[in-house]
């Protein structure tokens, strides 16, 4: 199921970006983290929705068919009663310009055309029972810790940008046995409310 694979890929890319941003200079960027989490949420919703409807969606069109309305079986099986509705959406994407040869790495733009023009808003964003289970491509939640470090609890699935994530950032210099970071009473960032 192409939608599924692409959503998984976007999720994996997003997560690696999120992890990378924690170690970048200047600290976590709230704006960037927010945008990443929005993309991840869309991809996760598509991924879980398509996973649930994976069984009934038997006959799939070949993924190589570009811009064909029938090449989007995910949409059709998810909303069987609104089958006429997605058609105009997909029809309009046919007129969008499509590059004949896409040499950019990884992403197949022909397949992406459909995925990108899916309307994530049409799928329900409610968490279903299966959605709360961790997808298999996510890294294990319980990372190994060094002796003396504290273990922080992080709820899975929610992407808390900004302050919460900064607490996970391991300071560059932390000697063993120290359980708290040294607080320097310097004139830094007593924020004015």
């Amino acid at each position: 199921m192409e939608v599924n694979i692409e959503a998984r890929r976007i999720l994996a890319v997003s997560i690696s970006k999120l992890y990378a941003s924690r170690t970048q200079r200047g600290g976590l960027r709230l704006h960037r983290s927010l945008l990443l989490s929005l993309v991840m949420r869309s991809a996760r919703d598509i991924y879980h929705s398509s996973r649930e409807s994976e069984v009934p969606s038997g006959a799939q069109s070949a993924p190589e068919e570009p811009m064909d309305t029938s090449s989007n079986p995910g949409e059709q099986t998810r909303l069987p009663e609104a089958q006429t509705e997605p058609q105009p959406v997909l029809n309009s994407t046919e007129t969008a310009p499509e590059e004949p040869d896409n040499t950019e790495d990884g992403c197949d733009s022909e397949i992406i055309e459909d995925k990108e023009n899916l309307s994530p808003a049409k799928q329900s964003r409610k968490r279903r029972g299966k959605a709360s289970a961790a997808p298999d491509f996510l890294p294990s939640k319980r990372a190994r810790l060094e002796p003396g470090e504290e273990r922080y609890e992080v709820p899975l699935g929610s992407c808390r940008a900004g302050e919460s994530l900064t607490t996970l950032h391991t300071p560059p210099f932390r000697s063993k046995g120290l359980r708290r970071r040294m607080v320097q009473p310097s004139a830094s960032l007593a924020c004015c409310h």
């Binding site: 960027r29 900064t166 830094s188």
Partner: protein, 439 residues
């Protein structure tokens, strides 16, 4: 009209190599005589216009280095174990009041007011001191001598006059000087503060969009600017593609906007990345104060301040990238923050793109052009050749296909002289200054 023959002639490719430093901001002062650049290393370089024969038909102006100083240094926040980058995010000039020039420069956390002054005389002939500054033996002084001012080589000094620190928890993205010349605002992801230029130990918080629970965060502030004439009015843009206009007379805390500018999303363009590309990266008032311009990832929009439900003009900067959004997400380009600017009489707007292209849109004549800032393709005094990106089908000669575009070469920062047709365009490491051909 300046665009009857729309050509840009390179008067001088003033390409300045910022050694291992990326240019992060470019700004003309109010007369256009000075051009300031900030870079990732925390340095500010100011160029001054040398005008030769302004009244002659072959009027050319050169911008030469006037002053260089280290504005910000890297810092370390011990409380959060985070390094604070020294990169200069924004420079804004103050209108000139006396012989000295003043500008505000900011990194992620601290804003500084710099005074740039010239010294071309020095006193000589002190009564009590030797020339090298040592005090003379009082017993050897038998007469009175008054020092005289003698000319010396011009020296330009930059000194930090104010440091506005510790007021932003999040990363500062904008500063804007008020038309009252006494106050200015600084904006980070969630808050906007109002400062008085003379007071550094406190500021007023005028916008706060931080939710009580950070998990409910849905949008951040991306840019803010004061109205050019109305000192009570400012706007701020958001990551959701909205712009809010606020009136400081209404209440002390401007969380409630006076106007909300938002265009409904085109449902046929919906994708995984719709939210990212609708995030506004820059907002600029027109000089006459009647319009404002916003830049999102793919387009530039002009808004009439009296119409909130949609922009009056929309210009596509590089629509051919819409089908490449997934790849641009992977290589991080989709997060690039492009700026935009108006020309002096608000008839043309300009913004940057990839492959060292920049785009100009002539509002009156409904024309646009794509130009390139590169040394290979340009020679001094040569007219810039318009570029064209081939979006499909057969590629014509001189056209560039989308897949050949170099996404590492991006023009994020551009500036337009306030009166003349002189533009400053910053590629990653180089600054290009172009001037309109004068017949």
């Amino acid at each position: 009209c300046i665009f009857d023959v729309f050509t840009l002639k390179i008067n001088q490719i003033q390409s300045v190599r910022m050694i291992s430093d990326i240019i992060s901001t470019v700004e003309f002062n109010h007369t256009g005589e000075l051009l300031a650049t900030g870079d990732k290393g925390g340095r500010v370089v100011i160029f001054q216009q040398e005008i030769e024969n302004k009244n002659q038909p072959q009027f050319r102006s050169e911008y030469n280095v006037y002053s260089t100083f280290q504005s910000h240094e890297p810092e370390f926040d011990y409380l959060k174990s985070l390094e604070i980058e020294e990169k200069i995010n924004k420079i804004r000039w103050l209108p000139q009041k006396n012989a000295a020039q003043f500008l505000l420069s900011t990194n992620d956390k601290t804003i500084k007011l710099w005074k740039i002054s010239e010294r071309d005389k020095r006193p000589e002939g002190y009564n009590l001191k030797e020339e090298d500054g040592r005090y003379k033996d009082p017993n050897t002084i038998t007469s009175l001598r008054v020092p005289v001012l003698k000319p010396m080589d011009l020296m330009v000094e930059a000194s930090p006059r104010r440091v506005f620190a510790n007021a932003h928890t999040y990363h500062i993205n904008s500063v804007s000087v008020n038309s009252d010349n006494e106050t200015y605002l600084s904006a980070d992801d969630l808050r906007i503060n109002l400062w008085h230029l003379e007071i550094t130990d406190r500021s007023f918080n005028i916008v706060d969009i931080k939710p009580a629970n950070m998990e409910e965060l849905t949008e951040v502030i991306t840019a803010a600017e004061f109205h050019p004439h109305q000192c009570n009015t400012f706007v701020y843009s958001s990551s959701k593609g909205t712009i809010r206009l606020c009136d400081m007379r209404v209440s002390a805390l401007c969380d409630k906007h006076s106007k909300l500018f938002e265009e409904p999303e085109d449902p046929s363009n919906r994708s995984f990345f719709s939210e990212i590309i609708s995030s506004i990266s820059d907002v600029k008032f027109s000089h006459n104060g009647r319009y404002m311009m916003t830049r999102d990832y793919l387009s530039v929009k002009i808004w009439d301040l009296n119409m909130e439900n949609r922009p009056v003009e929309t210009y596509q900067v590089h629509e051919y990238l819409r089908s490449k959004l997934c790849s641009l997400y992977e290589n991080d380009c989709i997060f690039d923050k492009f700026e935009c600017c108006w020309n002096g009489n608000d008839s043309v707007v300009m913004t940057g793109s990839y492959n060292n292209f920049f785009r100009m849109f002539d509002r009156g004549h409904r024309r646009d052009v794509t130009l390139e800032a590169s040394r290979e393709n340009s020679k001094p005094m040569q007219v810039l050749k318009p570029r064209k990106v081939c979006t499909g089908g057969k590629r014509k000669k001189d056209e560039i296909s989308v897949d050949s575009l170099d996404f590492n070469k991006k023009i994020l920062h551009t500036a337009w002289h306030p009166q003349d047709n002189i533009i400053a365009v910053a590629t990653t490491n180089n600054l290009y200054i172009f001037q309109d051909k004068v017949n």
